[in-house]
Subunit: 380 residues, 2 copies
């Protein structure tokens, strides 16, 4: 049972339940009213702007009836009903201050032990069964990557992977790109060299938030794929040395790619990106395209390089790595704002042919949220 209390001349409403009090401001409540004059019943969009709400707003009366709270606002002199459960879900009156580098649900960071339970699904299943698709997308939202098996060995089959949840992000590399050994590579990705684990295209802004890699041929020895959780890397760095975490998150690195004609891509972003309230929202790490770092003050540059070196060591630590070999018709997807990927060296005999493309996490989260709303019983 809720009790309510108005204070501050109608500026603040307090709700009390089981000894716990939650306060709301009148302006917040009015702005977030869910009635048909404030929000379109058809599409949920807000029909008013803040300028339509009086600066002299106050709550003159409040009443609770069952699961509803009715508030009367002045000077409108209008009563609006609120769902108490909605208010509880959207309460903001709580102790703030989380430790920088916190992650939000459903993110779960991991190390090499995730290899025992690799997030994997069957290509046919995710195409035909919404529950299988939901499970696979939920794994990607949680772990930042997922593997698919049993797909067709067919040119551009990777497009069918993207069709499951969103849209291809076309870039100067095309709608998709070929990853096979080239004689005069414009990018080191197109050689047989092993590549240190990295995020793709940090020189792009916004970076593509998803990369899909799809195997079409794989008879060369070696060339295993591996992934590392950049969020776990950042957490480990923070736990080892808070100063190192701080210096990489408080200063921008620079990245650049100018390997093809007509393309000069440059960005200025931190290697560890935090939201203003400290949420860990992105990792950029790529030795090949790191440009000269010129935005770190002289007095912090030695610390910056120590932190950058240690971040690379953590990334290279086998205890952080999940590796797997892709056979033709198999693919994997990474959240490119979080999970680094690498390829081990492969030999000249035999062939290795992958196709890759980019897409974005917002579409994936949207498809997942929509599946979860339709099948709430399946959502954890």
């Amino acid at each position: 049972m809720y009790e309510h209390h108005l204070s501050d001349n109608g500026q603040v409403l307090s709700l009390r339940k089981d000894g716990h009090e939650t306060r709301f401001h009148a302006i917040w409540l009015r702005d977030n009213a869910q009635d048909a004059q404030t929000r379109s019943p058809a599409n949920g969009q807000r029909l008013i702007a803040l300028r339509d709400i009086s600066e002299d707003l106050a709550i003159s009366a409040a009443e609770i009836t069952g699961t509803r709270l009715s508030l009367t606002f002045q000077p409108e002199d209008r009563s609006i009903d609120y769902d108490l459960a909605w208010l509880e879900r959207h309460a903001y009156d709580r102790p703030a201050e989380r430790r920088p580098g916190w992650t939000a649900d459903p993110v779960e960071t991991w190390d090499s032990r995730l290899m025992e339970r690799l997030p994997t699904a069957d290509f046919g299943a995710v195409q035909s069964d919404p529950a299988a698709l939901q499970g696979w997308l939920a794994d990607i939202a949680r772990y930042g990557f997922g593997k698919l098996t049993g797909g067709p060995v067919q040119d551009q089959a990777l497009m069918q992977v993207v069709d499951l949840f969103g849209h291809v992000r076309e870039t100067n590399y095309g709608r998709h790109f070929e990853v096979r050994t080239e004689v005069n590579p414009t990018n080191l990705a197109y050689t047989g060299l092993g590549l240190q684990a990295h995020t793709d295209n940090p020189y792009r802004d916004p970076v593509p938030t998803i990369q899909v890699l799809y195997c079409l041929e794989s008879s060369a020895a070696g060339g295993e794929n591996m992934v590392v959780d950049g969020f776990r890397v950042a957490e480990r760095l923070r736990d080892e040395n808070q100063d190192w975490f701080n210096v990489l998150s408080r200063h921008c690195a620079r990245f650049e790619y100018a390997g093809s004609d007509g393309v000069i891509l440059r960005s200025r972003r931190p290697m560890i990106e935090l939201a203003p309230d400290g949420e860990l929202i992105g990792v950029r790490f790529n030795n090949r395209s790191a440009a000269a770092i010129t935005d770190v003050p002289f007095d912090e540059m030695a610390t910056y390089y120590a932190a950058y070196r240690r971040m690379g060591e953590i990334i290279d630590d086998p205890a952080m790595e999940v590796s797997f070999r892709l056979e033709p018709g198999e693919s994997f997807l990474v959240d490119n704002t979080r999970v680094l990927h690498a390829r081990k060296a492969y030999s000249g005999t035999g062939t290795r042919w992958f196709q890759g493309c980019y897409a974005d996490m917002d579409g994936l989260h949207s498809t997942l949220a929509s599946l979860q709303e339709r099948r709430p019983e399946a959502a954890e």
Copy 2:
């Protein structure tokens, strides 16, 4: 003439010219070597990782010959040449601490007075003349928007605009979307609605960083387009009240769109987005898709709403607004991370048909940088 000086046991190199001293760290210099073993001469990518550079690195000798600096590194015992002009351009030993909300070159913020010199180019010219294209793209990089006149009145002509510099960002709205209303004077309920200036799709992450709007029919009265420089809005807010600027940049807002089947897009980003060192890098403002703000501590929520209200008032101030009418075959492009756009009310008989699409600024900056390198004399 440069003089040089080694200190700190070979950890720091100082260059002095005309009484001005600039220091570089040995590790920074080694990491940023431009020799063929460090950087691929073909594509400019770095061939080594930080792990390939010894932790015991030191500079044992330095020598200047003309425009070159030669450094000998230990324990490699290897000499690498540096271009002194390159070092000067990439120097990082300078007083830091700029005021939060600073903007980088070539950004120039503006208000309604920009109407006298609207950044405009001719569709045929930018297609055929690299200098015209370069000028138009440079205007967009500077002002965050640009207009094109004299284009074809043809379905999907807007794709030709995107082809000038990059690639369409396909979303749940498709590769492009129709903005079409048949004005029916007998049903005034569906006419006359203007939209408050806003950025598009703040509920997407990453947001599309470019929007193109292309006019195909425009016989209705009214319906002018207008744009507001969100960066100037943020500067004005900061100059009026630093606390208000801070509260909007230090806490995340939330945005949501769930208006179509299968689509539930949600984001958590600040209305004023700063890089960790205070550079102003983005503005999100959209009353229709603003969701309940739940990441602002109770004690700051009243200040947050005061700041949010004032930000809207500045956006609505006619002194901030540049407006123009698009005729068939005309289009405009906005940097959607910076410039808000709006449509004024329209009424009367006739039709209004626009097509819109999204793209990204990184491709535009890349094309511009490439044109500037080829035609450096034209770059300011």
